[in-house]
């Protein structure tokens, strides 16, 4: 018989063949190694004498269906434990799965025994690793959520404090007679508003740090123009703002510049003011403000008292932008801001 099954000696799994009376017809090399039972000893023996588990009625009943030509039967480690324990007691228990299938040619049953100890151990390790990573991920997520929440809270508080400062200034200015001091305070209040509007945007932001430039600039202009409404012939403002998302430090500078230029235009300009913001082909940004007012003498006189224009010049320098002013046909201001490298700016 041995010759018929010698191929099974070459397989990396246990294999043996049983006759219907449970006598062993073949016992491969792997089974010898695993059980410490030599083929000579096994052949002709009753499997149930060597491994009493096979006397159990539940196992016998199922194997009988295989002997009768029925479908293969699985005997798993999980439900039966180590089915073929080694005689060598120092061996650690192995996870083995056994499959019994019918061999019609000899009306016997072929048992194949697969050692799954490694797979079981690896799967257990992988499971632990996945659990560990899930825990870390949960912690990271909660840390990020907390950080976002704190940032929003911080921006909210900064905004409230700035509004308080604005209120203080405006209360103070109410006590002053019309004149230079009152104008200065109004300008100061508008500048602070530009900053607090930014913090308002940051507070509303859900993630990331980029601000919708069009919404932000429009909200600043609305605030400034509110101070001028009710005046006779209050000018019309036309917006042409591209929906750009800009980093918070860059938009702060642009916002402050718009604040100065728009205030200027509302004070001295004509009936129509236009503000445009657009992305340049190279990735930079162009901001243009023009009005149809009386204009000014070009080049722009850099009077020491015109803080607004000085401020815009400084902001332009900070952003490495070019600042052009032309006053021959109404006022025309143009800022061309190069693309910003992340992490740059905002330091001063």
């Amino acid at each position: 018989m041995r010759e018929d099954f010698s191929l099974l000696d070459r397989m990396p799994m246990g294999a043996f063949v049983l006759a219907r009376d449970y006598s062993i017809l073949f016992w491969n090399l792997c089974m010898e190694d695993w059980t410490f039972i030599a083929a000579d000893e096994a052949l002709g023996s009753d499997l149930r004498d060597l491994f009493p588990k096979f006397r159990k009625a539940s196992i016998d009943a199922r194997l009988q269906t295989v002997f009768a030509g029925g479908p293969p039967v699985v005997l798993s480690y999980q439900l039966h434990g180590d089915i073929f324990p080694s005689r060598q007691t120092t061996f650690v228990p192995r996870v083995r799965q056994c499959l019994a299938s019918y061999l019609p040619s000899i009306k016997g049953v072929l048992f194949s025994v697969e050692d799954r100890t490694d797979i079981a151990a690896k799967s257990r390790e992988a499971r632990f690793e996945i659990e560990r990573r899930k825990t870390v991920e949960r912690e990271l997520r909660s840390a990020v959520e907390q950080k976002d929440m704190l940032m929003r809270e911080l921006n909210h508080r900064v905004k409230n404090n700035l509004i308080m400062v604005q209120n203080l200034i405006s209360l103070e200015s109410e006590t002053l007679p019309e004149g230079q001091a009152k104008d200065l305070l109004a300008a100061l209040e508008a500048r602070i508003n530009s900053i607090s509007a930014l913090h308002d945007s940051l507070y509303r932001l859900e993630s990331g740090s980029d601000i919708k430039a069009d919404e932000y600039l429009a909200s600043i202009c609305e605030h400034i123009s509110a101070a001028f409404t009710g005046l006779p012939d209050s000018p019309r403002i036309e917006f042409s703002l591209e929906a750009l998302r800009l980093p918070s430090d860059q938009i702060l500078y642009i916002g402050l510049a718009v604040n100065e230029l728009m205030t200027n235009a509302l004070k001295y300009g004509g009936k129509k003011i236009s503000l445009s913001l657009a992305r340049l082909p190279g990735g930079g940004i162009e901001l243009v403000l023009r009005d149809d007012g009386p204009g000014f003498e070009s080049p722009l006189p850099m009077k020491p008292d015109s803080l607004g224009i000085r401020l815009v010049t400084l902001l332009a320098e900070q952003m490495k932008a070019t600042f052009e002013a032309e006053g021959s046909d109404g006022a025309f201001f143009r800022l061309r801001i190069p693309p910003m490298v992340r992490g740059e700016g905002g330091g001063s």
């Binding site: 009943a61 269906t65 029925g70 999980q78 439900l79 797979i119 079981a120 799967s123 257990r124 499971r127």
Partner: protein
């Protein structure tokens, strides 16, 4: 509803465009132009309502929608036995997305952004596809005969399980129905991507079939834990495959044994195989992507205080189903 093809390539099909984005809908509509009669739905729910109320020749379906995903729409259409061809239009280029859409019965899948050529060609192709073949008739008498066989098989399986376990396991009387592979995918996909565990064997000879015992992952986990008495979650994955494989083997052997005895079949068998995966992939793998029918035997396992559902799915080609019917007819004397 028949499709009319006028002479100059223009055609008058009724097409429903389903997309939550108004822009996407209007782009699709503009690309299709005046060739067809167009309708729009902004949600999956609205689409299903429109489809049930109107006869459409074709549906263009977006996958990512807020109320109900395109997959859910496909599942519902599959469950309702809809034969309207659906073209899935998505920006998702993953192969699994395509496989899942196909398993749920999508006729074609094309990618956004849409081009006029691709869209119009897809529409022409989908409109010319033959409707999916209807399932054959499962005569009530034969169905009853088959149900009796299954009852016998499940009683045997319960016997075997009970002699093995230290606690009783009850298998409830099975209900039987015949469905298509697409419907089976749809059932398990209904609540998100359904993960399944299945043990399967194939038989050939007197009857060619694949028989699977299919559980949802949760039920598989519950059954394995209950049988093994494991409390340590880390142990579960490595342990359950072996235990489920043996339980599946016992139930499937009872089914195969009863069928081969009662119908006098001479069968050969493959060894049992344990699979885990998403419903669509599993069903596709078992049915080998071919048509045919599935006899679904719904079972309930009662173990300790748990009630778990498992389905025995018998995958048959149309020819195999015919020969099974003939054998059942002989046995019932019909």
């Amino acid at each position: 509803m028949g499709v009319r093809y006028p002479q100059q390539g223009a055609c008058l099909a009724k097409i429903l465009i389903v997309d939550d984005s108004a822009t996407s809908r209007s782009i699709a509509a503009r690309l299709i132009g005046e060739n067809h009669e167009l309708f729009e739905a902004a949600t999956g729910r609205a689409a299903l309502d429109l489809i049930s109320a109107n006869g459409f020749d074709l549906v263009l379906l977006d996958l990512l929608m807020p109320d109900m995903s395109g997959f859910d729409v496909l599942s519902q259409l599959a469950s309702g036995g809809s034969v309207i061809p659906v073209i899935v239009v998505t920006a998702d280029i993953q192969n699994t997305t395509k496989a899942r859409a196909k398993a749920l019965g999508a006729a074609l899948l094309i990618h956004k952004p849409l081009s006029r050529e691709v869209l119009l060609e897809a529409i022409e192709t989908a409109l010319r596809l033959p409707p999916p073949a209807a399932l054959p008739d499962f005569e009530p008498a034969l169905k009853d005969g088959f149900a009796a066989l299954m009852n016998e098989a499940f009683a045997k399986a319960a016997d075997v399980l009970n002699t093995m376990m230290s606690f009783p396991i009850a298998l409830s009387v099975p209900a039987i129905e015949m469905i298509s592979a697409r419907e089976l995918s749809a059932r398990f996909s209904r609540s998100g991507p359904g993960k399944l565990s299945a043990v399967g064997m194939r038989c050939s000879g007197g009857l060619d079939a694949s028989i699977e015992l299919i559980f949802t992952s949760e039920d598989a986990l519950g059954l394995a834990d209950c049988v093994l008495g494991i409390d340590e979650p880390g142990e579960r994955d490595s342990m359950r495959a072996g235990a489920l494989c043996e339980i599946g083997n016992i139930v499937i052997n009872a089914v195969l044994g009863t069928m081969s005895n009662s119908l006098k079949l001479d069968l050969s068998f493959t060894v049992p195989c344990y699979l885990e995966g998403e419903a669509f992939a599993l069903v596709d793998e078992i049915s080998l992507g071919k048509g045919g029918v599935i006899l679904l035997v719904k079972t309930r396992f009662e173990v300790k205080d748990l009630r778990l559902h498992g389905d025995i799915a018998i995958f048959l080609s149309l020819a195999s189903f015919e020969s099974l019917s003939a054998m059942l007819r002989l046995r019932t004397g019909g």
